[in-house]
């Protein structure tokens, strides 16, 4: 602690769990937007990741409310948000936005996409497994060309609704922070937009990681056209995201409102490692340079021609760095916004516990849980399309 902070500010209110919440919802929104690239914008090259992206979004969405629930003082009363929401509260909308996204968008889209397979799997299986898959079809077992066509149209329609919904889901999370006028670090109209683009970055990076990893585990060759395209989109999103964050930063510096001194102190001391080093340098600039050099993002050619193996490694490494960077971004928003006093006269510290509900181990558990759920989902609904692998010698974007 340095300078003066109000007595009630000695305790930080939102800890690691509230950092995890926007990180996880960002991954959901990002993975979904990636899936919709294939579906709505017909970027055929990334088709191998379409279903994987949808299942990833679902796995992470199922976990998203857990950190919030766990951090409540009275988790047993959380249902009141649904029953008697205060309609003027941004946070009260959480349940509705979440339910809309889960039930109307994600589950519907997955169901329409998998219905044909579910019917086939039900037909090919026996016993309990047969009953299980049959139950998942909800009794809709019609495989006539007309029915399949309807699945496609309906799925596409849901994706159309899904894109603004994904924007809503994560833009809304940004709004929860951006609309707090008491906090000059949060209060910015750009925060929801920055959240959105960082969500896309983290979602694409996650699906890229999962795609490479699962291919490795399954001993299948990675579709390099797909991977190059993913890397290119990752770079586009990263550039947009960084530009917006830079705009926010420059805007604050140039306006130099009364909070500028304490925020300057915050960035140069408490947040130096997590913001300057992890978020900007390692999480953004390094992957941006690497992807610019090796991916075919511009002019369909890479600046530095590299072998497939090198590109795979660099993309994989960049995606990991990006995950670290985006997690740091969430940390810097949530924790950073509480490290200075609203008296604008002092800084405080956040001590991360190891054990307990707000501790490091619970946090790690909550970040691993979606991967476990994803594993189960993949076992139930195999998303693979790579029976005939495609490789490309020269990196090229095809769309």
């Amino acid at each position: 602690m340095s300078g003066y902070i109000y007595p009630n500010e000695l305790e930080l209110q939102w800890g690691l769990l509230v950092v995890i919440y926007p990180y996880v919802t960002g991954l959901v929104a990002g993975a979904f937007i990636l899936a919709s690239l294939e579906r709505v914008f017909r970027v055929r090259a990334i088709e191998p990741t379409y279903r994987l992206a949808l299942l990833t979004a679902l796995a992470f969405l199922l976990v998203a409310p857990l950190p919030l629930q766990a951090h409540l003082g009275h988790p047993e009363r959380s249902f009141a948000i649904f029953l008697t929401p205060n309609l003027r509260s941004a946070m009260a909308m959480f349940g509705f936005v979440y339910a809309w996204y889960l039930a109307v968008v994600l589950l519907l889209e997955i169901w329409f996409d998998y219905r044909k397979d579910l019917v086939l799997w039900a037909q090919q299986s026996r016993g309990l497994k047969k009953a299980f898959y049959y139950a998942l079809t909800l009794g809709a077992t019609d495989l006539s060309p007309r029915a399949i066509r309807f699945d496609n149209v309906a799925g596409r329609l849901v994706t159309f609704i899904g894109i603004p919904s994904a924007f809503l889901l994560h833009g809304y999370v940004g709004f929860i922070f951006g609309s707090v006028k008491a906090n000059p670090w949060w209060s910015s109209v750009l925060i929801p937009i920055v959240f959105l683009f960082s969500a896309m970055v983290s979602g694409i990076a996650l699906v890229l990681l999962l795609y490479v990893f699962t291919s490795l585990v399954r001993s299948k060759p990675v579709n390099m056209v797909c991977l190059d395209t993913l890397a290119s989109f990752l770079l586009y999103a990263l550039i947009l995201d960084f530009s917006l964050e830079a705009l926010d930063f420059i805007h604050r510096l140039y306006e130099a409102e009364e909070s500028i001194h304490i925020l300057g102190e915050l960035v140069s001391s408490r947040l130096f490692l997590s913001l300057v080093v992890l978020q900007v340098l390692l999480g953004t600039l390094v992957p941006m340079v690497l992807l610019t050099l090796l991916s075919p993002a511009f002019h369909h050619r890479a600046v530095l021609p590299a072998t497939e193996e090198l590109r795979r490694m660099v993309y994989f490494g960049s995606a990991i760095l990006i995950q670290v960077g985006i997690f740091s971004t969430r940390w810097n928003v949530v924790i950073g916004g509480q490290l200075f006093s609203k008296s604008l006269r002092g800084l405080t510290v956040y001590k991360l516990d190891m054990f307990g509900l707000e501790g490091l181990f619970v946090g790690i558990g909550l970040l691993l849980l979606p991967l476990v759920i994803l594993y189960v989902l993949i076992r139930i609904l195999p998303p693979w399309t790579d029976e005939t692998p495609v490789t490309a010698e020269a990196p090229a974007v095809s769309s």
């Binding site: 902070i5 009630n8 009363r77 929401p85 205060n86 707090v180 006269r345």
Partner: protein
């Protein structure tokens, strides 16, 4: 010593009770679902006003004369005793800040302890330009950000202008603590719900003054009716140049300061 009483107009018997309570009871009476009715009825029970008290005939505010505060911390102690506030220094409903403005160098601000400023008078080397105490408390804002952000409506404004928390309904999300620009709220370490100054609402409904006002030996805190022309608070507002804290945030605080220094935030 007998408690000083609020100088208030006579109340109408059988008057309407709180807006929220009325709303909740109506909801329940309208045959809401079984699940809905349970917690709502429970929530409404916490807001029983004293018999005959009419919140519609009051509108409260507080005046603070910075030049009169002597930093004795009686208000802090009285508040903690009256309202059962945890004794630890990081949980306060009201506190007093000491400002020391040196001839040269940085302004020093600190919150005084329960023993009062006399127990911790700092050395005055190098010369002091000005020094003063500023009592702080929930501003009971007319457009309170905490009320706006509460997802379940557990934080609400009463008809008589007091911002309260329903401890039976608060889910402990702490969004209100984040939204308060004044650092006036905290999470109770035992009940795990948001806590703040109530203007001693339990005393108000009996016609008594808030505890901090009651014990202030120098009359630095003036409590009363904002809408009555002849109340002590109305006189205070009429005869002083008034400021509120963080006016630019448009929260419309109902705690008014006289003789406030620009250093105070």
């Amino acid at each position: 010593m007998e408690d000083r009483r609020l100088d208030v107009p006579a109340e109408r018997p059988g008057a309407q009770v709180l807006d929220r309570r009325e709303f909740l009871l109506k909801c329940a009476a309208a045959g809401s679902t079984f699940i809905l009715a349970g917690p709502l009825m429970e929530a409404s029970q916490g807001e029983q006003a004293a018999e005959g008290y009419d919140p519609t005939s009051h509108y409260y505010g507080m005046g603070i004369d910075v030049s009169k505060c002597i930093g004795c911390a009686r208000c802090m102690t009285a508040c903690k005793t009256e309202n059962d506030v945890p004794q630890e220094p990081q949980f306060v409903r009201t506190w007093v800040e000491r400002y020391v403005i040196p001839v040269e160098g940085e302004v020093e601000v600190r919150a005084i302890g329960p023993e009062g400023a006399i127990a911790e008078t700092p050395p005055s080397e190098g010369g002091i330009l000005r020094t003063f105490f500023v009592p702080k408390i929930c501003n009971h804002c007319a457009t309170a950000p905490c009320v706006q952000v509460c997802p379940v409506g557990a934080t609400f404004t009463t008809q008589d202008g007091v911002v309260l928390v329903d401890p039976e309904y608060c889910i402990g999300c702490r969004y209100c603590i984040q939204a308060c620009p004044y650092g006036a709220r905290f999470l109770h370490p035992e009940t795990h719900v948001a806590e703040k100054c109530t203007f001693c609402y339990h005393r108000l409904v009996k016609g008594l003054l808030p505890a901090c006002v009651e014990v202030c030996p120098s009359g630095a805190r003036i409590f009363g009716e904002l809408r009555a022309r002849n109340s002590p608070l109305a006189r205070f507002l009429r005869f002083n140049a008034i400021q509120v804290l963080k006016d630019h945030l448009n929260t419309e605080p109902k705690v008014y300061y006289a003789n406030l220094d620009r250093e105070v935030s």
